[in-house]
């Protein structure tokens, strides 16, 4: 529908500068004017960009250490032996920089270090903090939220806030990569079927029917329970079936666009198939891709959370919201364990929904006219 606008509008609408805008520019302008969606987009983009330098903000390794006149940058290093920095009693063990910081402060010498603002690693068990309740008994894990651990720790003593923050990066990266692969595969196969039609289309349709009726989530569970997939393999597994939805949409787009005059014109001018596909039809068929993108990312995040929740996802290889949710569900008496991942997921998905609504309105507008 939107592509028909593309062909019927000759030169775009003139702007104040007297320059005409392309359809894409006008759509982007429309998207920017939808404040809720646009700001959500900026927030998600900002947070995701920030999540790549999270290392400097949430981490248990010091950013800079000045020791005996030399500078160390442990944050970039996998491992520094404790004795290198004068923690002789810990020997070859990795340095505990929080302890080192306390030591330096006590010595009050020329040595100093800068810790990240939130000095906990998502995979680290807190073995230093001891909490004592009113009765004088030591409190075991999970620790409730405090100024040390903003959202407390989980039952194995890992910092919930750090896990939640790193889980954001994992979730978005996972969903983004999965969506890109699904969309590329789906567009390629759907486009081929729509463009070449005939036998390819018929064959493809049969294949799609089989593929789409396989209980794939169940199958992913089976395979995942056996091979314990890594991040990449899990994406590979999911993308084996995830492309189907997009292929339907793109097949439809290509079928419709191919019947239009501008394609006939291109063919009669002697354009090759690849020129027609990539230069003529594809740019006019981007609407389903862009308008569904945020919802596909929501789907990707939810799938990862679901798999991790069942224990068949990344299986503890990376901090994940699904695993946190499962831990929270198993420890219902400690509500913060449940509220943290649900809150993080809720805010992220809500922002994504806002983006999705705005994109849809900008790229695939439906005007409703009513008499009364």
């Amino acid at each position: 529908m939107a592509s028909s606008i593309a062909n019927s509008t000759p030169a775009g609408t003139p702007t104040s500068q007297g320059k005409s805008l392309s359809l894409l520019q006008r759509r982007i302008k429309k998207f920017k004017s939808l404040k809720r969606g646009y700001y959500s987009f900026l927030i998600v983009l900002g947070l995701y960009a920030f999540s790549f330098i999270l290392l400097f903000f949430i981490n248990n390794k010091a950013l800079i250490v000045h020791y005996n006149g030399e500078y160390y940058f442990p944050v970039f290093k996998e491992y520094i032996a404790a004795k290198t920095l004068g923690m002789t009693e810990d020997g070859e063990a990795p340095v505990n920089f929080r302890k080192l910081q306390a030591k330096f402060e006590q010595e009050n010498g020329a040595n100093w270090l800068v810790m990240p603002p939130y000095p906990w690693d998502p995979d680290e068990r807190d073995q230093e903090t001891k909490i004592v309740d009113e009765a004088g008994e030591t409190v075991n894990y999970p620790y409730p939220p405090s100024s040390t651990h903003w959202l407390g720790t989980d039952p194995s003593g890992r910092d919930v806030f750090a896990r939640m923050a790193y889980g954001f990066r994992v979730s978005i990266s996972f969903a983004l990569l999965l969506t890109i692969i699904n969309y590329s595969l789906g567009s390629a196969l759907g486009g081929l079927m729509g463009y070449y039609g005939k036998k390819i289309d018929l064959f493809g349709q049969r294949l799609l029917e089989v593929w789409s009726n396989i209980p794939f989530f169940f199958l992913v569970l089976i395979v995942s329970s056996i091979i314990q997939p890594s991040f990449i393999i899990l994406i590979f597994l999911l993308s084996l079936f995830g492309w189907i939805g997009m292929s339907y949409l793109m097949r439809g787009e290509f079928l419709r666009e191919k019947a239009k005059d501008y394609v006939s014109a291109a063919i009669s001018l002697g354009a090759s198939d690849s020129q027609i596909i990539f230069k003529h039809i594809l740019p006019n068929s981007l609407t389903p891709i862009i308008a569904t993108l945020p919802f596909a990312i929501i789907g990707g995040i939810s799938t990862l959370v679901g798999l991790d929740y069942l224990g068949f996802g990344l299986q503890g290889k990376l901090p994940s919201w699904g695993e946190m949710l499962q831990i929270g569900n198993d420890n219902k008496e400690h509500l913060w364990l449940l509220l943290s991942p649900i809150g993080a997921m809720f805010i992220t998905l809500l922002l994504m929904t806002f983006i999705g609504e705005a994109l849809r309105e900008a790229f695939d507008p439906k005007e409703y006219s009513r008499l009364r």
Partner: protein, 342 residues
């Protein structure tokens, strides 16, 4: 039309076979199947008895006699090549024999049949309530487009999109089950339900139903409401609505008699797919609430590598889905006279 559906039903057969082949192949070629597990447990048992007897020799007990291995292979049908195994399995399925569950030592079909009523119970209630809420809500939102009610209820729709049913379920369970104690913390019925009086049975059942049903509804709430609203909005802009108004009909009659009927089309055609979901249960919600339905069974069979039950579930799942698709098309053709399948 009739021919079209006959052809569709016949096409179900190759699709069904292809689907089961894919699943069969995948679970057969992945390691860690029942045979491997039987070998492993046999090795462990030997090791335990060895170390108990001779004081912990590590070398012994690793080997299982070849004859025993062969017998095991025969038991799991692994002595035959893969295509033959599939044919063997397929032949059995055609005669209604799905094999015996490794875990429960009962016919797979019995195991599944015992779980079905639970999933259907939740499925039907969630389904009916979902439609009963979403259709009027979507309708009202369309009529009062851009009103305060429309905008504030859109917020609910957004929340519905943004929170997966099972996650919300976990939260509900923790707050209303664990912290406040208003509802039981999961399960289908209380223990000893059979011994309760009729009235107590009903109360107990309802008590266990409320929270899961909310989660089932959340899943479809956002989508259904939006479909209903957009569909009615679209119809209200059509010429036939203009004509109806021009004839001097009341707004009430135009909306409820003329426009509503047509705007229910996309909702009705979704019924076929909903039917499939209804029978399949929801793995994540059932797991959260500890409801012993089909979804929970899927989870358990995956954990136990109970391959006969997995294949039986696949057969049932694929059949339901294929029937649901055809059912959907049939409904589509019935409610929309413009549609003609050839």
């Amino acid at each position: 039309m009739f021919q079209y559906f006959i052809r569709r039903i016949l096409l179900m057969i190759p699709t069904f076979i292809a689907c089961t082949i894919v699943v069969f192949l995948i679970i057969e070629i992945t390691p860690g199947g029942p045979f491997d597990q039987a070998i492993m447990s046999a090795q462990q048992q030997q090791q335990v008895s060895e170390s108990g007897g001779s004081g912990g020799s590590d070398k012994g007990g690793q080997q299982i006699p070849e004859e025993a291995k062969e017998a095991l292979k025969k038991y799991f049908n692994l002595d035959k090549p893969l295509p033959l195994r599939y044919l063997h399995w397929f032949g059995n399925v055609m005669t209604g024999d799905f094999g015996e569950s490794y875990k429960y030592s009962e016919p797979a079909i019995t195991v599944i049949a015992s779980r079905f009523p639970v999933s259907i119970y939740f499925g039907v209630i969630g389904f009916v309530l979902g439609y009963a809420v979403c259709i009027p809500l979507g309708l009202y939102k369309a009529i009062k487009h851009n009103s305060v009610f429309d905008i504030s209820s859109s917020l609910l729709v957004f929340i519905g999109y943004a929170i997966p049913g099972f996650a919300f379920g976990a939260l509900l369970l923790a707050v209303f089950g664990r912290q406040l104690g208003w509802f039981p913390i999961g399960g289908f019925r209380s223990e000893g339900w059979e011994y309760l009086g009729t009235w107590d049975k009903v109360v107990d059942q309802l008590h266990h139903t409320v929270l899961p049903i909310i989660c089932y509804m959340i899943g479809s709430f956002a989508t259904l409401t939006v479909i209903m609203k957009n569909s009615l909005m679209e119809n209200l802009g059509q010429d036939y609505v203009r004509t109806a108004f021009a004839k001097g009909l009341t707004e009430r009659r135009v909306i409820f008699v003329h426009a509503l009927r047509n705007s229910l089309i996309p909702i009705v055609t979704g019924l076929g797919h909903a039917f499939g979901l209804l029978l399949a249960g929801s793995l994540l919600i059932e797991k959260t609430f500890g409801i012993p339905g089909i979804g929970m069974l899927q989870y358990e069979t995956v954990l136990n590598r109970d391959y006969t039950v997995i294949m039986a579930l696949t057969v049932i799942g694929v059949t339901i889905q294929l029937t649901g698709n055809i059912f959907s098309d049939l409904l589509y053709a019935t409610v929309d006279p413009r549609i003609r399948f050839r």
